[in-house]
């Protein structure tokens, strides 16, 4: 899949014929580039520092809820991805982001087949947030979440495909005979990638390869990975490495990895230097991103909204 196709205009208002409703088409684009993400956020988020700070809080809130409800990691990870995708297209508001996080978790439980009654989720959410809800307030809260649910599903364009890094970590490690301890290090990295927006940019398989390579470098274990054999994209692998190393260099104390291996504080600079200048995801010129209708404000009420996966592009162009 070439990058230029990626930035083709996805929302195409069809000229309404007589008696027809205005309709728009929403194409799902599971992966964006750094500049595209920044552009989308510039439209929805007033203060990116506040957003990032609250994002960390929200993720630890979600983790507590998931622990209490005994959800597996993959449910939490999916919720974290949904949360970030939501704010690419909906304006960020400090008074409602916990509700958004709750609905992300709720949809994640459905997508990951770990279904819980919304009522039970709300009970734990209010407990974690120290809110005392009487039955009427809980009912109102439930209604609000249901209202947000469809908005979230429209935002992700009914695209329920989500890959998980840890699944690939295990499979790739077995294929490449990487020792268990190194895979464990890579697995510890993986949670940090979800705390960042790497999963919005690179597919899980590419992230997994990047983490395994970093872990092998860190533990001085030699490994030779043929990207083509594992169907991973070199640019996406590099993007992951650069992002994660930059995060560790500047904010090591905030990482999950640091809570397990605090003594490795200074090693990441060396890894970054060893990595050198590598080819990351190709960025298009800013004006193309700005022209891209994908980042236009979305409507959830007018006319008909039709949803398509990215692989249906060909059909879409044929129709036009």
């Amino acid at each position: 899949m070439s990058r230029s196709q990626d930035t083709a205009s996805p929302i195409t208002p069809c000229s309404p014929k007589k008696g027809e409703m205005i309709s728009s088409i929403q194409l799902s684009r599971p992966f964006l580039t750094r500049l595209q993400i920044e552009y989308a956020q510039s439209k929805t988020i007033d203060n990116i520092v506040v957003y990032k700070q609250r994002r960390n809080q929200v993720f630890s809130f979600l983790m507590k809820v998931c622990n209490t409800l005994k959800f597996p990691m993959r449910t939490l990870e999916t919720a974290m991805i949904y949360y970030q995708r939501f704010y690419l297209h909906n304006s960020f508001n400090t008074s409602t982001y916990h509700d958004v996080a709750t609905v992300c978790l709720f949809v994640a439980t459905k997508n990951e087949e770990t279904i819980k009654k919304l009522r039970d989720i709300i009970a734990v959410v209010s407990q974690v947030r120290n809110m005392q809800l009487n039955s009427e307030q809980a009912e109102n809260y439930r209604r609000r979440i249901i209202g947000l649910e469809i908005k979230l599903m429209e935002t992700i364009a009914f695209d329920f495909r989500i890959g998980h890094v840890e699944e690939y970590l295990v499979k790739f490690s077995k294929t490449l005979s990487i020792p268990k301890e190194i895979t464990y290090t890579a697995w510890l990295f993986s949670y940090d990638t979800y705390q960042l927006d790497i999963a919005l940019k690179a597919p899980a398989s590419s992230i997994a390869v990047a983490l395994l390579e970093l872990a092998c470098k860190l533990e001085k274990f030699h490994v030779n990975i043929n990207y083509r054999e594992l169907f991973v994209n070199m640019e996406a692998v590099n993007e992951t490495k650069v992002d994660l190393l930059d995060f560790y260099i500047s904010n090591y104390n905030y990482s999950f990895f640091a809570s397990i291996r605090p003594e490795l504080h200074d090693t990441f600079m060396d890894l970054k230097i060893a990595l050198g200048n590598v080819k990351q995801l190709v960025e298009r010129e800013k004006r193309y991103i700005e022209e891209d209708a994908y980042f236009d404000e979305r409507s959830y009420t007018t006319g008909e909204r039709r949803f398509m996966l990215g692989n249906q592009r060909k059909r879409l162009y044929n129709e036009m």
């Binding site: 309709s23 439930r142 429209e154 006319g303 039709r306």
Partner: protein
């Protein structure tokens, strides 16, 4: 792309638990389609899981023996799934006593079902609700698997699955015994039972309830024991079972009078269990 659906042209063809189904036409191609209209925001737990599963799995499956999800759109608080419309299904045919099935008919339906199931399985998707009424037939006789409301992906080996899937009469023994881990075998079992039903023209193992289903199943096909199916007795539901002997070839021949030997072998293969 637009669809004709209005008071005058659309016909309500059915009302499921969570959706109303309309019949319509694709304006550009005149193709018959079914529109599943799902009200959103009305249910206690939001969008129904079966709707979500249908979207999730059908969006990615494209095969001549799997129903096509033509479009997904949202309008006026309704989620609409546009599916290809198929006028008949195997249940209708089985019940229609005026029809005579030739071995060729049964063979081709079975082959088309297995091709569709194989396509699901090679994409790591279990259907989990195969039964005659979910095997739809087109005007030209193509069979397509429909209703992915219970489908799920195979997932990782440590995930626990619910055993409360598949319509009772088509439920495989590991499900009856409450297994938390299973695989494509549950779909293949259902195909085997559907095969039997196509030959008998009545449901092969019609249990009255979940307990009775165990009895009916094992009386017909024998109770599995550890010697033929390793560790089967460790399944949660394996207690106080009447041990029925395996049916002999002769008994099966008597039950399926018109079946050829190879047909019996094939059915036997589908219902053979040995997970290990």
């Amino acid at each position: 792309m637009s669809y004709t659906k209005g008071e005058s042209t659309a016909k309500k063809v059915g009302e499921g638990t969570y959706a109303v189904v309309f019949l319509g036409k694709q304006t550009s191609t005149e193709r018959d389609i079914a529109i599943k209209e799902i009200k959103t925001g009305q249910f206690k737990d939001g969008l129904d899981m079966s709707a979500l599963r249908e979207v999730k799995y059908l969006q990615e499956l494209k095969h001549v023996n799997v129903i096509e999800l033509v479009d997904v759109f949202e309008s006026a608080n309704n989620l609409n799934l546009v599916l290809e419309f198929l006028p008949s299904d195997l249940e209708v045919l089985i019940k229609d006593r005026t029809l005579l099935f030739s071995p060729g008919d049964v063979k081709s339906w079975l082959l088309m079902t297995l091709r569709g199931v194989h396509h699901c399985h090679r994409n790591f998707i279990l259907h989990r609700d195969l039964k005659p009424s979910n095997l739809l037939l087109s005007q030209s006789g193509e069979l397509k698997i429909a209703d992915f409301g219970l489908a799920r992906s195979l997932g990782s080996p440590n995930e626990e699955f619910t055993s409360n899937v598949v319509t009772r009469w088509y439920r495989a023994p590991e499900l009856l015994l409450g297994a938390k881990h299973y695989d494509g075998g549950v779909d293949i079992w259902a195909v085997g039972i559907i095969f039997a039903e196509l030959m008998l023209r009545v449901p092969y193992l019609p249990g009255a309830d979940d307990i009775d289903q165990i009895d009916v199943t094992f009386r017909a096909l024998g109770t599995p024991t550890d010697s033929m199916w390793e560790l089967v007795s460790t399944l949660p539901g394996y207690n106080n079972l009447t041990v029925y002997p395996q049916p002999t070839k002769q008994e099966l021949r008597k039950r399926f009078i018109a079946a050829t030997e190879s047909a019996l072998d094939l059915m036997n293969d589908g219902t053979l269990r040995n997970v290990s």
